[in-house]
Structures are given as C-alpha cells and as structure tokens.
Subunit: 349 residues, 2 copies
C-alpha cells in the first residue's frame, strides 16, 4: 500500500497532475467544478500532500526554526508561547531546537539553519561570537534575535540596563544602601546589562560601589540562571561577612535560590535582607518576590511578527525592538516606606 500522490488523483479524475496541483493551490486557473471533483477524490483517497516535495519544488520551506538554548526556564516557555501564537496564525509551522548547554548552540545553528530546512529563524539568548555571526550571515533567510542584540539582525529584547537601574533604584528609594548583586555567568549579556543599570543607579544616588557586594558565577549551565547558582552566590556573599541589607538577583530563579540561602542561615526576607529579582516568572507571584517583569509573551509575539514580515518580503532596514521592563512590587523588597524618606540610614544586618 503505497502513499497516494497527485498522479493517483490525476488518473482517477482524468486530468493532468498540473490541474491537480492547481486545485490544491487554489489557483484561479481551474474551473470550480473540476476543483471540487479533484478535492473530492483526494479526500476519498486520503491524499496528503508531501511536505518535502512541496518545499523543494517551491524553493521555499514552510517551517520556521526557533533556537532556544534554555527552554527549561519558564521565561523561555512564555516567550515561545507568544511565538507559537503568532506563528500558528500563519502558514508556517514551528521547529524547536533546544539544549541544556550553551555549547550546543552551534550544533543547533548547524541544523536549524540548514538550507531548505526552514524559511527563517528565531535565535534566543545566545552569546554571539564572530563564528556564529558568520553562520547567521551565511544563512540566506531572515533571522530575528530574541533577548539578544546585534546591529546586523532584527531583534527584540528587554531594556535590561534600565531594568537593572529600576531594581537598584527601587531598593535605594526604600532606604537600602548595601545592595548585593547576584549576577549570572559573565558571558551573559543580559546579566551584564542589568549589572550596568545597577551601577548607574548607584552613580545617580552618588553612592560608592562596593565591589565586594557583586558576585558572579562560573557556572555554564544555563549561564548560571539556576536556583543552585543563586544559592551558591548568595552563600558566598554571606560568607564574606560584609555588611549587606538587600540583594538584587539578575533573575527570579536565582533570587529563589538566594532566598533559600538566606533562610538557611536563619535570616528572613525582607526582614534581614530585602530581595529583588528579574523576569517575573510564574512562581514569583506565589512567593511574593518583587521583580522586574519582562513582557515575555509580547516579546515572542513581536519576534514572530517581525520574522513573518520579513518572510512576506518586507525589505525595511534592520529593526530593533526594545521593550521596557516594569517593576512589580511585592513583599520581598520590604514594606513600603514613606515616599520621600531618602535619609541615608544604614540597614546593615
């Protein structure tokens, strides 16, 4: 029992394969009658068009690749979901590449950017070294970067620097002056940017930065965006025995680990140490973590929309969409203090 092709349908309908093809691509050059007849016979025979043959002949794939190094995290799930929503409204299907380690990105690029594989690609949160950039440039189809920036490619990302700035400012406004910073792997650009924002806030408040308050991880798994890394980082910070009254973790998942580390030492959040995260993953709502919300779903939708635009042939210059993070204040950053109390009272533990 071999698969049924347009030849079978053509035979049975007493027409040529070209007509069958036309019927399926609803070309205006088939009479309604024959089209209906053909479609009927196809139905009857259980015909299924052959995707590969189709894209080969059309010189165009109807797949879009999403390359996501860390799909384990809720953040990416939400973004992906936004992507799905948009893509599923289109003629395209979504091919998802994901892997637990950053090194695998190259392998994924290799496959996902295969010629004839997909019509375009979305690349998530991967550090762009020259080799990867070269590969992206060789790829003749449109690429949109998500949670990532490079001048040569369309992108959509959160304003991470501003987010870091808002996080630190929030704590400063509340009167905290010894704000620890839990960064991720130093290779992570978003982490760096959030850190820059943290520094800017300190400059604006004219508060000297104590480098001992800033810690980062060597962990490569998910670039250190893990609960374990957060726990380890917070622990190392507490071990230093340097005064500290609050902490900004560059991601919620790390903040969760940090909170555990704090509580494991018999201290409380926010009583002893106030805590602010970044992302606003689902859990944060339940554990009352103050954080900077990234519009995840929106990011996904916008990225997909940008890509679809390019696939429709839009030749506009490279576009960069920067979305603003918003402060979501919950109890982990301490009870709200009276608005204008900017006294530099210290909050040491």
């Amino acid at each position: 029992m071999d698969a049924v092709t347009i030849y079978d349908i053509a035979d049975k309908a007493k027409v040529s394969i070209a007509t069958v093809s036309r019927a399926f691509n609803n070309s205006s050059r088939v009479s309604a009658r024959t089209r209906d007849r053909i479609l009927g016979i196809a139905q009857e025979l259980g015909y299924q068009p052959h995707a590969s043959a189709r894209s080969l002949a059309k010189r165009k794939s109807n797949l879009v690749s999403a390359i996501i190094p860390m799909l384990t995290s809720y953040f990416f799930l939400e973004v992906l979901h936004g992507v799905q929503e948009k893509i599923s409204e289109s003629e395209y299907d979504l091919l998802v590449y994901s892997a637990p380690r950053m090194e695998n990105v190259d392998g994924m690029l290799e496959n996902g950017l295969n010629r004839g594989r997909s019509a375009g690609a979305l690349l998530f949160s991967s550090p762009l070294n020259p080799e990867r950039i070269k590969r992206l440039e060789q790829y003749s189809n449109p690429v949109v970067l998500v949670d990532l920036y490079h001048e040569k490619f369309d992108s959509v990302a959160t304003d991470n620097e501003q987010g870091g700035y808002l996080a630190a400012s929030h704590l400063l406004e509340k009167g905290y002056r010894r704000i620890g910073l839990l960064a991720a792997n130093l290779d992570s650009v978003p982490s760096q940017q959030r850190m820059n924002g943290y520094c800017r806030a300190h400059r604006e408040w004219d508060i000297a930065l104590d480098e001992r308050l800033v810690v980062s991880t060597d962990d490569d798994q998910f670039h250190g965006f893990t609960e374990e890394a957060g726990y380890a980082l917070m622990s190392s910070l507490l071990d230093k025995d340097v005064a500290i009254d609050s902490v900004f973790a560059v991601s919620d998942i790390q903040a969760l680990g940090a909170r555990r580390a704090i509580e494991d030492r018999g201290m409380a959040v926010p009583g002893d140490i106030a805590l602010v995260g970044f992302d606003d993953i689902m859990i944060s709502r339940y554990v009352e973590l103050t954080t900077l919300r990234q519009p995840m779903n929106e990011m996904g939708r916008m990225a997909a929309e940008l890509l679809l635009e390019r696939l429709r042939g839009n030749e506009k210059p490279v576009m960069h969409k920067i979305l603003a993070p918003t402060l979501v204040e919950r109890t982990s950053s301490g009870s709200r203090r009276t608005g204008t109390d900017l006294s530099k009272s210290s909050h040491n533990i």
Copy 2:
C-alpha cells in the same frame, strides 16, 4: 548569489554528483582521499545540504512531530524537555505543534501528520475521538501517545487511577472524611481516571460518596486545567454549604486556584481545609503543596525512546508504559497524624 549545491562541488572536484553524495553519506564506496577532498571543497564553498531534497530522495524525513495542545503548562514543558533530551541525541529534529484550545488539535494533526513532513509523531493528552483515531491510522508512520491511552498505539502515561487513589487514601489516612473533588473538564480522561481512584479509595474505606463533594468544570480552555477553573470550582463547592474538611484537586494548577478561593473566604490551608494536588509542578515545592508527582521528564524520555525504537524498525507489538505517580507530602495536607488513628472523627469546617 545562488545557493551552492552538490553540482558546484562536483564541478570543482572533477567528480560526479554521485560521488559527492557518497562522500556526505560516508558510503564505503568512496576512497578516503576523494572524500576528504570533497569535504574540503564543500567547507570552502560553504555548502549546506538541502533538507527537503534530502528527505524527498531518501523517502524519509528527519523530523519528529510533537503535538501538544497545552504547552502553556509546566507539566508539558517538563515532558517536552525529556523528549528533547532523547531526540537531540538522535539524528532527528523536533517539530513542535501547540495551541491553546483542544479544538485546534485537529488542525495540528493535519499539519504534523503530513506525509513527508515527519518520520513519526508524539501526541500529547488529546481526547481521541473516532475521527482522530482514523487520522492516526492513516498516518503511515509510528505514533506514540503521551499522557494518553489507546490500545492501537504505543503509549506512555501515568497511572492516573492509582494516583487518585493515593491522593484520597492519603487524606483518609489522616482522618479526613469529607473530601471534596475538583475535577477538570469531563472530557479529560486523566481527570476521569483520577476521579475513579478517588472513588475506589472511598469504597475501600467503606465511606459513602457524597456526590455534592464532586465538582467539575465546563471550561474548555486547557480542559479546565487552569488556576481560574480551580478557583471557580472551589468557590462553587464552598457555596454549597456542605461539610468539607479537605480537597483533592486533579491538578496542581487547580489546587493553586482552590487555595486562593479558600483564603479569600478567610479560611486557611490546611487548618480549615487540607489540600492535595496532582502533577508536582515547580511551584508546588515553593508553596508547600502536597501532591502526586508524575515523572514528567521520564515520561518524555520514554516516549521519545519508544518512538526512536519504532523508527529504527522495531516491529514488536504495541507497547504501553504505565508510570507510577508518587505521593509528595508537604504541609498543605495537614500535619502528620499518628499512624493508626483511623477514628471517624469529622473534620467539618
């Protein structure tokens, strides 16, 4: 600047395209020397094999479709992750279909089971009506069902009935006698099965089932596996003004909604009403929800492994893998009572 094909390589290497093809498929019928030469030239020219042309000629796709109606939930993310892990070790890539509503399943089947599109498919948690079964049967490639059962197809699923049984038994052992049941949409088979387990536990304990304690939703979105549905269901249960001392929600996400409903009425978990969920999603650990853990990652890995087996040509009879859920006891189901206190003391609110 047209894409480079094997013809270009053949020209430059002064060999036929057949030899180039052999070189890439590391056939034993090319001399090591010419192969190396060809590979070198290919590298130099930036050659990329054309995926569609390849699968067309080979009569075999290297894609595997995963059809997931509700990828929004953490449960599916974890399962998908297990799938990814296995799949990425193989020669296949993963095509992901997902949509927010159950109705969309048919559209996804239409695309995902396209001939020539994928070499096999994983179908998640979708009610199987005769039409869908017919479509699966027409599909000439292997299919593995996940979180789903049908005699004709390979499957991997949790023992939901047993899970429901364990959940209810756990509460009964603790002395609760008025156990509310928050089901999902009645079309959901897992929900039904968990309910059956709940009933069996009551029979074994010889406790009459009070039907007023059992509520289900009409919600179709995600089959009622949402926080909102949990909230609404719990509220309706409390409105009934029927004695109740504990609740088994057929999913953690619903349990979260239920907890909110309980707390919104000024009652506490587990003080006034004990709570047990199902799944063990990530949040549950943080909010101390007692639940029945499904081995999500494992399910994904096993499903992918089963599919890969079939793709390797394994012709063994249909296989069904049933995984056991495990009780994860946290504080939401009340403090542990002394083991053998089976007195039928009532725990009314």
